[in-house]
């Protein structure tokens, strides 16, 4: 009986091993899509823009000494709840004179059920 020569099979097996390596690299590349999606979901979930918005508004209240204006406060709280789905609050803190400036501390609170944000902002008024 003629003997079968199997030496070429090593080449085939090595080729297979290389192909497994390429598939492995392709799987890693494939994960990038998922990373992009989870990142964008995380960015959407964290309400950075809403927090910046109420922060800006509250700081402008402080600059114009309107922090204790109850009409502004009530309207803002009601609109934040209906428009942004968030409970917000702010309160005027201590005042301290530093050089030619007055440093005013303002407590800012934001909670939309997913993100809770609390800050004591220092606002320097001329």
């Amino acid at each position: 009986m003629e003997k079968v020569d199997g030496s070429g099979q090593w080449i085939v097996i090595m080729g297979f091993l290389v192909s497994v390596g390429i598939v492995f690299l392709a799987i890693i590349l494939n994960q990038f899509v998922l990373v992009g999606q989870t990142t964008s979901e995380g960015v959407l979930e964290f309400s950075k823009n809403d927090i910046r918005d109420i922060r800006d508004e509250i700081i402008s209240f402080a600059a114009e000494d309107e922090l204790e204006n109850s009409i502004y406060r009530d309207d803002m709280q009601a609109l934040a709840l209906s428009g942004k789905g968030a409970i917000i609050g702010y309160e005027k803190g201590s005042e301290e004179i530093i050089g030619s400036f007055t440093r005013l501390r303002v407590g800012i609170h934001f909670n939309n059920g997913v993100t809770e944000y609390d800050e004591i902002a220092s606002i320097y008024l001329p």
Binding site: V4, G6, Q9, W10, V12, I13, F16, V23, G36, Q37, S40, E41, V43, L44, N49, D50, R52, D53, I54, D56, E57, S60, I71, Y72, D74, D75, M76, A78, L79, A80, S82, G83, K84
Partner: protein, 160 residues
């Protein structure tokens, strides 16, 4: 003498089996379904552009001055606001402009009740485009309200 060529055939058999299994695994897993959750990526971009445009419009040119956005509200200039917003949201200096459409409304409180005042729109919403809503607090004197109030400018954005 021990004949070991049979080992190669065994390895070949295992390899062939693996190839078939891996192929079946990838074929089952490969169909890419565009689910609603995948639209988050474009939603995020649209949301960020919307918030940025509102921020740009609500930033006064000088300290203590009224912002552009407050100016449009104070003068009840709805066409002016719409034109400026659409320009800012769509303008791309180096290539073809974007095709984002908008519908804006101002929410305000009147005697404990929430009121809404339409503040311009561009484009027709068919109900099929994925839309997102951006909002920004703004202070101004809305027509018929008299004194300065805190209001919420809400803009719905979608791509044509």
């Amino acid at each position: 003498m021990v004949e070991d060529t049979g080992q190669l055939y065994t390895i070949e058999g295992v390899t062939a089996g693996l190839i078939m299994l891996i192929t079946a695994y990838f074929v089952m897993g490969s169909p890419l379904v565009y689910t609603p959750s995948a639209s988050h990526i474009s939603d995020m971009q649209l949301e960020q552009i919307g918030y940025d445009v509102l921020l740009v419009m609500d930033t006064p040119a000088q300290y203590g001055a009224d912002s552009e956005l407050a100016g449009y509200i104070n003068s009840d200039d709805i066409p002016g606001f719409t034109e400026r917003f659409v320009q800012l949201v769509n303008d791309r200096p180096t290539c073809v402009d974007d095709s984002i459409c908008m519908k804006a409304a101002i929410k305000y409180m009147l005697g404990g009740t929430e009121m809404s005042y339409d503040f311009g729109e561009s484009g027709v919403y068919t109900g099929k485009e994925p839309a997102i809503k951006v909002s920004r607090f703004v202070r101004g004197r809305l027509k018929g309200l008299g004194s300065e109030r805190v209001m919420l400018m809400e803009v719905t954005l979608w791509r044509r």
